[in-house]
């Protein structure tokens, strides 16, 4: 049984069909990536799984249970945690509060403290800045905070929406390395990325979305080698080589 199974999911924004019936699965322990150009419906997919958006049709199965149409609080409570696009940390809360609010639904004080230590180990920078307001952090630090905040919820399925957006290449490397580490401790990861080559290298499997549909799937390495994927998403590199 897959940890997550999406069946023919459809989401509309008023008259706009953002998802036109997509299906995919994520197995426990995997890193799966969803790539695709701007407006393909990647963020919409994650929001629908989280419960921020109500699907028009289709089914979302998680851990064998139907979670279609649940509210965000309910999916978080079941371990489905989203790191939203653009980080969305709370600028008026301190770094420590931002982390604590990630554990909002938990009441196991001792374990929360342990997880806090773990996040601080993962991102020592956050510990130094724990009393600073979230809004005063740099972009990279905010991304670390967004990931740390999600970890505080003890995710079973961690969904990340473009964690590398707007970050310097070195920071991107760090973030990807940490995603790998988080996954190695047993957390399943569903990753959306613009940076398709890095994502496909990290992920075991990937799906390619085009205007609300999935039109290609395969293992990370297969997709990486696929000419049409190279053309569309890894394009700049191959074209540059061609010209030389």
């Amino acid at each position: 049984m897959s940890l997550l199974e999406i069946q023919d999911l459809r989401v509309n924004y008023g008259g706009i069909k953002a998802l036109k019936g997509i299906s995919f699965t994520v197995e426990e322990g995997e890193i799966v990536t969803l790539i695709g150009s701007n407006g393909a419906g990647k963020s919409t997919t994650l929001k629908a799984i989280s419960g921020l958006l109500k699907p028009a049709a289709g089914k979302i199965m998680y851990g064998g249970r139907d979670i279609t149409g649940l509210d965000a609080q309910q999916t978080v409570d079941q371990g489905v945690v989203l790191v939203p696009e653009g980080r969305k940390i709370f600028p008026n809360l301190t770094v420590l509060e931002n982390l604590k609010i990630g554990a909002y639904l938990r009441s196991d004080k001792g374990k929360i403290q342990q997880d806090l230590e773990r996040v601080y180990d993962l991102f020592p920078r956050l510990k130094e800045r724990s009393w600073q307001k979230g809004g005063t952090l740099s972009g990279g630090e905010q991304q670390m905070l967004a990931v740390g905040r999600a970890l505080m919820a003890r995710p079973r399925l961690l969904m990340m929406d473009e964690p590398s957006l707007g970050l310097a290449p070195l920071v991107v490397q760090d973030i990807f390395k940490i995603i790998g580490e988080i996954n190695a401790t047993g957390t399943t990861v569903l990753l959306i990325e613009q940076n398709a080559s890095a994502a496909l290298k990290l992920a075991r499997r990937g799906y390619v979305m085009v205007t609300g549909e999935i039109n290609l799937e395969g293992s990370g390495s297969d997709l990486l080698a696929n000419p049409s994927v190279q053309e569309a998403y890894l394009g700049s590199q191959s074209r540059r080589h061609a010209r030389l």
């Binding site: 989280s50 969305k88 709370f90 809360l93 609010i101 990630g102 919820a153």
Partner: protein, 293 residues
Amino acid sequence: MSFSTFIQHCLTGISLGGAYALISIGYTLVYGILLLINFAHADIFMMAGYFMIFAMASFPWQVAIPIVILATVVLGVVIERVAYKPLRNAPRMSVMISAIGVSYLLQNLATYLFSALPQGYPTIPPLKKVIQLGSVTTSLVTLITPVLTILLVILLMLLVRHSKFGMAMRAVSKDFETSQLMGIKINRVVSYTFAIGSALAAIGSILYFTDRMSVTPFSGTMPGLKCFVAAVLGGIGSIPGAMIGGFIIGITETFLVAFGYSTYSDAVTFLFLIIILIVRPTGLLGEELTEKV
């Protein structure tokens, strides 16, 4: 003006300001969370006045006060549920219009139920107790109001800054969607916010009407507007700001009346509003207004 009259006016001003402060906080809290100017807040305050008249008709004041606070809280929360919650994703203007509608509804309902004639506000014996401080004579309510106001503001700020619920409130005030992703129930936070605002308005109404001695269906309008101005003056969204704004407006009003300019006392309130909006639109303690995403 002799020194003792001056002190007398100071006390009256601070006391009126305290009542204003408690009402202003309701505006500021709701605005902080929903970016909504809750026009109905003034009329919730007015209804609290009537609740007291009825409660005191059957109960001693010790029982009547909790009943009034509870009834006002229920009224505030129900109004939010019925008139604002269904519009959570609607444009801000729609919610604002709904709030104006509720305001008129409450005024007309009160006129229908209790007539437009002023109804005598009951006397709460301990508040009316006369106190002699040297050459100054005053009633206990004048002394209790500012102390109680400051105490409640401190409690509220502790709640907002240091409790888990307060953290959720601050998060919701910035970003609904991300707050939901943390597992926060937005509607619950909003309900509690209205409950707190209404409870403070109920306490404010007891302190205010004890000095005015009568209630009409329109008793809320002027104090409501002034308290809204107080909230803007202090920086809307800021709790200590609302308190300071309330005191400034209350003290100014009292002294204008004392110097014989009572005709202008309301106008000066709005002059304050205009000046602050021109000179410092964020108010005395307000932060930069950030649009909610």
